[in-house]
Symmetry: C2
Subunit: 285 residues, 2 copies
């Protein structure tokens, strides 16, 4: 693991690393923010999964999460959105291939060689982080757009690994959307039954979630028809799923929206992760 | 108008009045809370409509709204849930007739003579309040269960009269629920097309709302299947309606739930009503 950069930020350290991913078969870049509290103790960690066309960098520089992570004493991790570099398959469209991993394990050529983003996040990077940084086993996950899809689906499928989940403007029903059908078909093949594991609305309906879920959405989001918030809203209410679903007048799909509600998401996770950490500690005592 | 009782409460006055309702054809009781600020200036007012079996009294004594109304400087009004007394039609069931007005204008016998709760709230009591108390024309409305249904339907049909709306555990889709079909049939007759004017989900879908909407719901509400929050959640998201819909783990249908979130509802309304009052004032200047 090689450090690419490090900058002091809100009393803590914002760093970027490169490592060789066995799962994706290429070097992958990710960013970690450690709050000042991490000098004294292991801290909970909040994953932030980014959207289409993004790298680890967009949220790190534009979402403004570090201020609140510092205040609440939690770490942040920003993975990349796909493998990239020489030999990695790509497509001319911005929404397939590089920058558009959709957090799935591809089973189809030419994608399956490198596009294993689900396992990369859930298994490999998680393990790397746990060994390298002063973080405890209290993980929360959030994300934006395609990354909101990643956060919800990964959490719903791994309730023992993730204690809290939220999302900004997530793609919540990709099996019924042009942001989803094309990619799931390319990565997983034509058997739509296999797509269900990557659809937050279907997963919620079938499995529920052990905690509560926070989702913020801009009412003037230019991509809202592709996100299908109505499908998740109906499923959450029908499931009696503890949740807070907010539709905000005037906000669009940009990072200006994410930044506007970053404080509340970090606080939401921090409260739940710290409660989980306390509970773990008292169980051990 | 006769004052029945008056008690000092959080620096203001909680009073109960009786007046003769021309619309309902009987004497009606209602309660008004005036915050201390009402001694100096006209204040915004938040209506609270109660649920099945309630009178003006339940929320007045159990919801704990006065503390926050005092803090934010807004008045509260608690109407009764139906006409009652000698000569008023009733039914053996708790959910029809006295205590179960559903905030409709009945067109069918034996109800139509007295059960005109929609007009009573929207026209008559509103006019009575405006003439008798130091309140400005900034009205918000909330309610619980059948009263949440009343609040949502009355606001959605009268966007110029109400600046803000929220609800606790509302009946949101009575045309598809046993808390609704029986009553709408009795009060309005069998033509279901006429029921749509009293269904918040249908009204929202057709008309939208000029502001944002706050709804809190208990996930362990024993009546939740009758409330149908999934119908309103789907409609709100599909409409891209600015809204905050919260499903709270562990809470039931009782006033212990209402009281737990009373502070947030009063603050929600106070912010919007005061902004509306400021805007009105600057328009007049």
């Amino acid at each position: 693991m090689e450090m690419i950069s490090q900058n002091k930020c809100f009393g803590g350290q914002q760093a970027v690393y490169k490592h060789t991913s066995a799962v994706c078969g290429v070097d992958m870049t990710f960013a970690v923010y450690l709050p000042p509290q991490a000098k004294q103790e292991s801290v909970p960690v909040l994953w932030y999964l980014s959207g289409l066309t993004c790298t680890h960098e967009n949220a790190m520089t534009k979402a403004g999460l570090q201020e609140y992570a510092s205040k609440h004493g939690i770490a942040l991790v920003f993975p990349d959105t796909s493998p990239r570099g020489d030999g990695v398959a790509d497509d001319d469209a911005y929404d397939l291939g590089v920058g558009a991993g959709f957090y799935v394990n591809a089973t189809q050529d030419p994608w399956k060689k490198n596009f294993q983003m689900y396992d990369y996040v859930v298994k490999e990077l998680r393990s790397v982080l746990q060994g390298a940084f002063p973080i405890c086993e209290c993980h929360g996950i959030t994300g934006h757009s395609m990354g909101g899809h990643g956060a919800l689906t990964i959490a719903l499928r791994n309730p023992s690994l993730f204690k809290s989940v939220s999302a900004f403007s997530p793609i919540v029903n990709p099996t019924r959307s042009d942001w989803g059908r094309k990619q799931l078909s390319a990565y997983l093949g034509d058997d739509e039954a296999l797509w269900a594991e990557y659809d937050a609305t279907i997963l919620l309906r079938e499995r529920g979630w052990h905690g509560d879920i926070l989702i913020d959405q801009g009412a003037d989001d230019q991509f809202i028809d592709l996100l299908r918030p109505e499908a998740f809203a109906e499923a959450a209410a029908a499931k009696r799923q503890p949740s807070t679903l907010r539709m905000h007048a005037g906000y669009d799909h940009s990072y200006f929206f994410v930044a506007s509600f970053a404080a509340e998401h970090v606080e939401w996770h921090a409260r739940r992760l710290k409660a989980s950490k306390r509970q773990g500690r008292s169980t051990n005592e």
